[in-house]
Symmetry: C2
Subunit: 496 residues, 2 copies
């Protein structure tokens, strides 16, 4: 057996452990009885510990070196070996003591955050967040040394391989220069047009679920390799060949669950479309969180809030819920699904104001990791940013800097991927339409095949063969930029 072949065996074991943890994590958020939380925490900690042991074992390092020396690999195996090395470097860079200290600090900090958010009590969280930040800075330092990167880039690289501040900074600077004006213009235009009529409930949960399943099937979700269930916070998780998405139903408002299902289905299509032969190997993984988010946003924002899709959706909704009248006409539905309204909460934001939330968080987290912003000064800096970017005065930290779990969880470097994903989604959707001019018409007929086929060929089926940049260049003819996103927002919110 070659060294490379023995690595494939080792990494397919790691994939199995990661799949097991994925299902256990899904179960914890959907069905698990409360009293099992501690035991489940132990199970997941043991699985993650075993995976880390296998990945960082001296034998892994030796076999990697041997396989790299062997050489002679074809394209996919060569890319796979490269991804194996990447995974090894990230894992081995951080001493075990630091991993464990960080894991303990995060557990405590997440627990305190839940109470601190509920009580809008930032000072209660502050010492725990400071400890998490201290350890993340150490981790960034350690990974940075191993990867030859500065600490923030090293953390970012864990979520979006190859992404760098040097790429993000000009993109975000450009967004900052025109987004506030575009939001203002969209709001003015919206105020001048007809008001959006509300859709009056109640909407039975089972009808909502059936509708969600119908649309998932239309989008191409493979029910033999996945499920739709309920959780407090919607997500896409599970394992290879077993992609589990969730939503949360509200009888008074079906749109949020429905758009959530469409969003998570976008993630699921990526997972289900990964290259079959490589699905248990690193090169068969999704390329990174920015591209993953681009796949949920291309479905939810680009395709499913388009005028074309809404004209298909209208009759489905009227039939499913047995309603009719002006509120249920496509024009009104489109108005409802493209409303622009600055708000405090990131996860509730529309696609035009969402990037402002990210610009702010990116600015703050790079400063925190760089040592230029102390945890004690975070609320003030957050609130100032909300005034600058969205013109809002934050009334308390609950809807301010306490709203997200990311920082208390130690996920520094994650936030920018949301907006990089939005940029990529616009750029990919434009390229898909250029390649398949019939695409918008197909959406109006509920036919997602052209979009799905294009995404499968250009994104999903490519796994981690190329870098994000090379993948985008290949699919769209250009590196990641803001032009397509700006053009999309202008057309949808300012155009004819």
């Amino acid at each position: 057996m070659t060294a490379y072949a023995s690595l494939e065996t080792r990494f397919s074991r790691l994939s199995a452990i990661s799949g097991a943890a994925g299902i256990l994590g899904w179960d914890a958020q959907t069905l698990m009885p409360d009293g099992a939380a501690e035991a489940r925490g132990d199970q997941l900690a043991v699985l993650h510990g075993l995976a880390h042991e296998i990945l960082t074992a001296p034998e892994t390092a030796d076999t990697l070196a041997a396989a790299e020396a062997e050489g002679g690999l074809e394209t996919w195996p060569a890319a796979n070996l490269h991804e194996m090395r990447r995974a090894y470097l990230h894992a081995a860079a951080v001493p075990r003591d630091l991993v464990e200290a960080s894991s303990r600090a995060v557990s405590r900090s997440e627990m305190v955050w839940r109470e601190a958010r509920r009580d809008a009590d930032f000072p209660r969280l502050a010492p725990h967040l400071a400890e998490v930040l201290r350890l993340q800075r150490e981790i960034g330092q350690a990974k940075g040394t191993a990867l030859g990167l500065d600490p923030y880039d090293a953390l970012l690289d864990g979520y979006d391989p190859g992404m760098r501040r040097a790429v993000i900074d000009p993109l975000f600077a450009d967004l900052t220069s025109w987004l506030p004006d575009l939001i203002a213009a969209a709001r003015t235009r919206q105020a001048e047009g007809p008001a959006a009529l509300p859709l009056d409930g109640p909407f039975p949960v089972d009808t909502q679920r059936q509708l969600g399943l119908t649309l998932m099937r239309a989008l191409g979700f493979d029910e033999a390799r996945g499920r739709l269930d309920i959780s407090l916070h919607p997500f896409c998780g599970g394992a290879t060949d077993d992609v589990r998405i969730t939503t949360r139903y509200d009888e008074a408002d079906f749109s949020r669950a429905l758009m959530g299902v469409l969003h998570e289905t976008g993630h699921a299509l990526y997972e289900q479309g990964r290259p079959t032969a490589w699905r248990h190997q690193p090169v068969g993984s999704a390329r990174g969180m920015s591209l993953h988010e681009s796949q949920s946003l291309i479905i939810e924002m680009q395709a499913c809030r388009s005028r074309e899709f809404v004209s298909y959706l209208g009759p489905l909704l009227r039939e499913a819920f047995g309603r009719s009248g002006p509120a249920w006409e496509p024009d009104n539905l489109f108005r409802l699904y493209t409303r622009v309204e600055p708000g405090f909460i990131r996860v509730d934001a529309d696609e035009a104001t969402y990037p402002a939330h990210i610009l702010l968080r990116y600015r703050l987290e790079t400063a925190m990791i760089g040592g230029d912003l102390a945890v004690a000064d975070l609320p003030g800096a957050f609130n100032e940013g909300m005034r600058d970017l969205l013109g809002l005065t934050v009334p308390d930290d609950r809807v301010g800097c306490l709203q997200d779990i990311h920082w208390p969880s130690g996920a520094f470097g994650y936030f920018p991927t949301y907006t990089l994903g939005a940029l990529a989604a616009a750029q990919l959707f434009r390229a898909a339409k250029a390649a398949e001019p019939a695409l918008p018409g197909c959406l109006a007929a509920g036919d997602f095949a052209p979009l799905r086929t294009w995404l499968r060929a250009n994104i999903h089926g490519q796994g981690s063969l190329l870098t994000t940049d090379a993948l985008l260049e290949r699919a769209t003819g250009a590196p990641l930029g803001t032009a397509a996103f700006r053009a999309h927002l202008e057309a949808r919110y300012l155009g004819g």
Copy 2:
């Protein structure tokens, strides 16, 4: 850290892995999409492989020896160390090659069995079953050498620690001497009495489920540490603090699902009642499959098919399903739930004829492991036994020797635990009534507290502190025997 303390850490990791596998196994039988079967198989194989590696590592052996040399342990830790040694001996006795060969042979054989059973085609299964048997004989030999036992006893010891053929043979010989006559007498008496009136459906699934949950709660099932779901074959599985039982609903007949829920709740009460402080350690495990089965049977057969319980159940059923009339009176319900009728299928058998199915399988599997019965001769021997023991002529192997998955799965040594459990259940129920004379009256009022409290103190909370024999002696004043079971059957089926 003492050697013993480091073993506790090691075995609590093993408990976490086993819990993870338990939840993944549950999911595979309840919710998993079909297309995930292969990936799930890989996940479970990797987890079992890792657990086996940890358990049989040279470090485990060294630490066991060191802890045994240290000595000075109190009662529970000493018993825990004894159980650790037992687990180690069982696992380390079988060479890794043999474990893997057996696992592969079992996978193939189970697959072929499904088709062979469907087509009543024993010759199709025969070569696969022969291979599984050959490997089980090797495993029995290997374990026997390590444990100082003959091969069948070594296999049996894996399911029911300490149980031996020398204990079973006289018990089963005694059963064989009187059971056929008792069945005949019960049948005669039944034929002379009024016929049992059928309960006419349909019975909505959700009502059945709510009724099951109501009774589970009454029995003392802790919903904060468990769930009730649906699967093709009912079982009790899951993990520590997360006990998952399943049933299958039939709108035409609620009784089977209901009795199934009561049966599995008996298993679940054992799992939920294990000693809290030791629940992640070997000594905190259930004592073995015979005692486990005794706990399901004491609930289903002893308690819930008693006249007392049925008098409580009647009104619940009438209210739940909105029915009334003579079929719904306790006398008729009791007749329905205590019908004796020889049949081909073990899992459908009543408590009087059930042991006959086990006597036959025990006779055949000891002969197969002993080399005295070839796989090719199994159908003939099986059908001859059915004639002898139950007076039935088997029409084809689908309802004959192909009906159970145990042998194709390599589970030789498991069958006797069903009937040992039935004997233990009768003996324990008699002792519980002697200790708590109010117990039958409480059952008539739907109050399970006295029974549950007694079982918790005498069985559940004892974990694996004592041997099965010592536990039964302590709880009932006698080793396992047939007297209580015989007295129970005579009272219920031949008595006033």
